[in-house]
Amino acid sequence: MSEDLNAFRSDVSDWLKASFPTSLKGKAAEIVEASSERDGLKGEALEWRKALAAKGYGAPTWPKEYGGAALSHPQEKVLGEELSKVGAINPMIMLTGMGITMVGPTVLEYGTDEQKAKHLPGIASGEVRWCLGLSEPNAGSDLASLSTKAVEDGDNIVLNGQKVWTSGADKSDWCGAVVRTNPDAKKRDGISFVMLPMDQQGVETRPIKLISGYSPFCETFFNDAIAEKKDLLGKQNDGWSVVKRLLQHERQSQTSARSPSVKLESVQDMAKRYVGTDSEGRLDDPDLRARIVSHLMDSKLHNLTVERITAEARGNLEVSASASILKNSATRVAQTRAELNLEIAGSQGLGWDGDEFTSTELDNVRDWLFGKATSIYGGSEEVQKNIISKNILGLPETTQKG
């Protein structure tokens, strides 16, 4: 086993030497940024995307026939390690919106052979960007009360209604939408999951400006939007099971504390810089110091728990019950760090614009504001606790009346 892995590692290493343009080394941040734009990558970054796609390394664990490389989880880990060794990143996650992390795995599980062949290769190669139409103005944490209507019309399904918080809808090629196909059934029983192209007359998107000034989310309007019937994922009116699975993939994708591409100054170093130290080298604010200790302990505990759960799963970390725990702890760690960043810098940490502030100080403000969303989206902190108490601990359901 480990011999095979070593052989695989040297194959990957050789391939990287031949295929990864050295000019891209250390350009992770630029590639991440370009990948989230509508027109995507250019020049050597585009060549790199194509090289990854040709090898199936964009979605390395997917079957080869759908654009993957059929790697095992230990092999996937080796691939990640080798990429990071040479300073390369896999841009497919950013390029495809919700494609790699959520849509792909769900199509793999619920899709027909025809659907897999139609949708997966475009995701694996980073060419098709996906968004998800889940939340509605009156269906947030209580997603199953959604009311976007979908009516059959020959070979098509016609959609009418509004989605909200659709990440990247204005830049996406396709949308996976959860819609109501039977208004007479109980609320979880009349739901279907359908895939439709965004470039059509019946679909309109409007970016939502957030408190951070960013607009990563949209309102998406369906006015007689058309989906093909053969793009229904799972059975008609049985979409809730597809959605539940999709949300599990979402939780799983939100369990790590932060993107490793950005190297942050440690919170204790930052605090020493702004606050100063006493004669014994301790931070000159005992109360702040105690809270930083607590934050650092939470952060370490989160990482140790991810390691432990990964080791117990022996590298085969699929959707697991622990995802709710990790999503909440990742969120808490990141939000606390963002609050500490502001508090440590005092008034200097509260700038909005201008030469008086460093770019890090200004970024910290945006990150802090944007980070408030993390305990709301992907199932709010409270929804995760409902999941823990019901699915893991076996306590009664508390959110369903009647």
Partner: protein, 378 residues
């Protein structure tokens, strides 16, 4: 649960079934009610010896099985769940660690086989006051002939009444508060000038005050280097703390299971109380703390087995965070059980009282949070 090998899995399963069958909380209740001054039952202790638990960290050449601290932790988790009373932790982990890390070959040969057989109970007599502060050691060890003469008192000594020997940190130079000038000495309990009396602590386990009145100790019973004992003591303490964390997590986990069971069975306002979201979310928080803290005490035990260079950091993290979890869990055990939790007839009180003793031993949460900050250099 860490990814265990076959032998570890076997030992854990054996411990689990033996403790719940042979040494459940009911046995502890009987012991408490009996007023036994040793605070453990001889047959329980003998059974542990027979199962090989006393030799888990002791090298094979001295009769042990050398399976390491993580394996020892698996057993301590189980005894922690049922509050099984014995000198297992004090002697076979703390006493044995002291001799393994600091003892001369002669001391190892004379002590370790006895710890394995249970004939010797070796315990650390460290504290001299109510707050854990190892560098405050003041008990005097004057140089005398080729040995030392000890004068002073130790207190809150775990298994101090049943001990056959004490590991005694003593002051050989400098003043209380200096890390330099501390030396560790092995002193037999029957040496002339040693006297002891039982202390009655809230967890009904065995503790003693031990007085040393001009006790002569031969030079060969010095563990580690003269005046340099503080570093050795810290190494011993970190192994002790990591083991303690395993026991603490076991105690807290049992309190969690008792509470979860009650949430599913107690009916009020026409439904089981676990159907109230306030309690469902509290249970989710406690479960989250249980899962997260498991990671840190296992990591601490593994760091010790790997002889990693971050042992102090991992141990400080574990003792602080497992202590916080045990503290909160023991409070919620009473709160969620309501009135029944307040009665002596129910076991919750045993867990609450034991929790505070474990939290306080070898530095409480506050001690280790402060220590963590210092280790991280701020």
């Amino acid at each position: 649960m860490a990814a265990l090998n076959e032998e570890q899995t076997m030992i854990r399963d054996q411990a689990k079934s033996w403790v719940s069958d042979q040494a459940p909380v009911r046995k502890f209740r009987e012991l408490r009610d009996s007023g036994n001054e040793m605070a453990f039952a001889a047959p329980t202790w003998q059974a542990m010896v027979d199962m090989g638990w006393t030799g888990i960290i002791i090298p094979e050449e001295y009769g042990g099985s050398d399976l390491g601290y993580l394996t020892f932790g698996l057993i301590l988790e189980e005894t922690g769940k049922h509050l099984t009373a014995s000198p297992l932790f004090a002697s076979a982990l703390v006493g044995a660690t002291s001799v393994i890390l600091g003892g001369s070959e002669a001391v190892k040969q004379s002590v370790l086989p006895g710890i394995v057989s249970g004939d010797q109970i070796v315990t650390l007599a460290l504290e001299e006051g109510p707050r854990h502060k190892p560098e405050a050691t003041a008990l005097a060890a004057e140089s005398s002939g080729d040995g030392f003469k000890l004068t002073g008192d130790k207190t809150f000594v775990a298994e101090g009444m049943s001990a056959s020997s004490y590991i005694v940190p003593a002051r050989t130079s400098g003043i209380a508060g200096d890390t330099h000038g501390i030396s560790l000495l092995l002193v037999t309990a029957d040496a002339k000038g040693v006297s002891r009396n039982a202390m009655h602590m809230m967890d009904s386990r065995g503790y003693a005050n031990v007085q040393f009145d001009g006790v002569m100790v031969e030079g060969g019973h010095l563990l580690g280097e003269l005046d340099q004992g503080f570093g050795l003591l810290e190494q011993i303490l970190d192994r002790a703390r990591a083991g303690l964390c395993a026991e603490m997590h076991g105690t807290a986990s049992q309190a969690f299971d008792m509470t979860l069971d009650y949430l599913k069975t107690r009916v009020q306002f026409g439904q089981v109380i676990g159907a109230f979201q306030a309690l469902g979310h509290r249970a989710a928080d406690l479960y989250t703390a249980k899962e997260m803290t498991r990671s840190c005490f296992e990591a601490a035990l593994k760091a010790i087995d790997d002889d990693a260079d971050n042992i102090p950091e991992m141990v400080a993290l574990a003792k602080a965070r497992v202590g916080e979890y045990l503290h909160e869990m023991s409070c919620q055990l009473i709160q969620i059980h309501g009135g029944i939790g307040m009665t002596d007839e129910f076991d919750a009180g045993f867990y609450l009282k034991r929790a505070r003793m474990l939290e306080t031993s070898f530095g409480n949460q506050s001690y280790h949070r402060e220590r963590y900050a210092r280790i991280l250099g701020f």
